[in-house]
Structure formats: C-alpha cells, structure tokens
Amino acid sequence: MTLDILDQQLIAAIQDGLELTSKPFARIASQLGISEQIVLNRLQQLKDNGTIKRLGVVVRHRELGFKANAMVVWDIPDDRVNEIAQRIASFECVTLCYQRPRRMPEWSYNLFSMIHGKDRQSVLERLTDLIEILELQDINNKPLFSTRCFKQRGGRYINPDKIIACSILPLNTSLNSPLKTRHIHNDKTGDDFALPLVINHAYG
C-alpha cells in the first residue's frame, strides 16, 4: 500500500480523533489548505482501499464494564494454523486474532487472540466454550490475563512535523525520501477493535 503526502497529512490530522464540532472535515480542510470535498473524497478512498478499517466511535472496554481481558496464546502446528485461526477469529467475543513468530525456546506460541468479558470468570467460561465448540482440546493454549494497564491510546503512525519537512524538500531529494511513500505493516492490541455492545430494547 502506498500513501502519498496528502494521505499522510490526512492520517496525521485524524489519527487522534475528529473534532467534536459541527463541521470536523471542514476544519481539517482549512488546516491542510484543501477543500472539504477533497477531504471527504480522500477519506472515502482510504476506507475503500482498506487503509482505514473503520472511522467512528472507538470505545474503551474497561470503562464500559468489560474489565477482564485475556490474551489467549496458542501453539498450533504450522500446517493447521490458517484453518484454526480463522475459526477462532470468528468466535464471539474474540476481538483480535494474529499469527506471530515463535521465539524458541522461551516462546512457543504462534497465534494470539484477545477475549474480553465483564470479569475473569466470564472470560474463562468463554474460552472453555471456544475450545469445546471448535474442538481445540489438543492445542496447547495459555490465557494471559492483564493485571494492570500502564498505557492505552490509539497508535500514532505519522509524525505531522515529518510530513511538512518532507513536502518542502527539493524535488530531487524527495524522490528517494522514505517519507514520500510508505509500504509497511502495523500491529495493535487493546482498544482498536469494534466492541460489540447490546442495547436492551434491540437485542434483549
């Protein structure tokens, strides 16, 4: 995925959140010196090409009463990881599911999933259900409950100062600038998923 300078400027402008004012996109447009319609079009493109997974309310699970979370790690045979991971990922209350490298000998787990719940017991019950329903009794797993949160916020991918520095570089130097385009991958745990909520009258 290649992001041009305008994409990067837009991402820098929205990564900490939209302003809670009547016309948040117009505010960004005036910051960047472009029209509101271009901001909306570009953001729509970034959504359409999958760069922005979603743009909306990002909830904080602990404050909403989902106080327990376990990072459940699995040691899955390499030839089965794809199939099993897809089934774990689609199980209810699993909010993240990533494959990562093993680091032998101290770390043998290659799949990471996150399960949230009101309390420790409900997370463990959910995990028990998951293992039974998906028939994963033969797969070694370990739930790592979080006992303390030292820091939690959205990732800051782009330093706005660096974009400005990049965009005023002479043309011949900017051609090879690593900031001109980006082709990289990222990662996350914690708050960056849609937490399924229930409204009593809608789903009671």
Binding site: L18, L40, L43, R54, V57, Q99, F145, R148, I184, T189
Partner: protein
C-alpha cells in the same frame, strides 16, 4: 450508567459514521428516525461527555494492519521488584501506545507503533538500553480478525 442515547451512539457508530459535511447533524437525524428526539448539539455533547468519562477514546479512525505505519507486539520478562520502574520507562516512549502487565514470566506486554519498521526497531533497541532487559519482538505475520462487531454479550 449509560443513557439510551449513549447506548445508541456506542452501538451504532463503532463501525462507521456519516461521511458528510455535518456528520453529527446526520447522526442526530438517523437516530431520530428510531424514535429519539435529539439535536446535533446533544449528539456532540454526549460524545464529548463519553470521551471525558473515558468510555470512548476518540471518534476517529482505526487503521488496517499492514497499510499504515509499522508496529509490533513486544514483551519483557521483568523482575517483580522492577515492574513499576520498567513499565514507566516503556510507557515514556511516544511510540508505545499500549502497555499492559500480564500474568506470565513475560509479564510486560506493549505495542510499539511508528512510521516505519526502522523507527519501531530503534525504539525497541532504546528500550533494551534503558531497561537493561531483553525485549522479545513479535511482529504480526497474519491478521485473521474480521471487524464485524456483532451485537452480543461478552
């Protein structure tokens, strides 16, 4: 406790919001179709209040892994008596956006996010230098999660 309006906003607008000039006005219009009677200002004030109370972190984007920036999950096996000190060093890095203590020999888990893989690796190196502890680096190889947000109890 959450009001009906707060629940509606939390439930209906995680996956997306109207991409129009006045999105909060459009949200008010959409919600009013469901029997509410709210103004744009009430929507804005309610979101601001949810944010102030820490229940939402932002009205903003979640980026697709692999498309924007670079990041990794990392862990350190911290001696119990050094946990606070080491956790504070790790949290002090602006590239660290999540930092949790977890129940395992590897007891400090954090996410490092930056514009490039080099910047991520530089931050990990500096964390090792400042803490004197080795960092286990576990970059994502594959994302299996589909962010659908089914309505259910967790």
């Amino acid at each position: 406790m959450l009001t009906q309006l707060e629940k509606q906003l939390l439930n209906d607008y995680q996956q997306g919001m109207p991409m129009v000039s006045e999105p909060y006005s459009e949200i008010a219009r959409e919600i009013n179709l469901k029997g509410f009677s709210v103004t744009e200002k009430e929507v804005i004030d309610t979101l601001a209040s949810l944010k102030e109370r820490g229940m939402i972190s932002r009205v903003g984007p979640v980026f697709q892994p692999r498309n924007v920036g670079s990041s990794t999950l990392a862990a350190i096996a911290v001696p119990a008596e050094r946990m606070e000190e080491v956790a504070n060093i790790v949290s002090s890095f602006s590239q660290v956006n999540h930092n949790y203590e977890r129940e395992h020999q590897f007891n400090l888990w954090f996410v490092v996010t930056a514009g490039s893989q080099d910047e991520v690796e530089q931050a990990l190196y500096e964390i090792e230098q400042q803490t004197g502890l080795s960092v286990m680096n576990l970059p994502m190889e594959q994302d299996y999660h589909i962010d659908l947000g089914f309505p259910l109890w967790c």
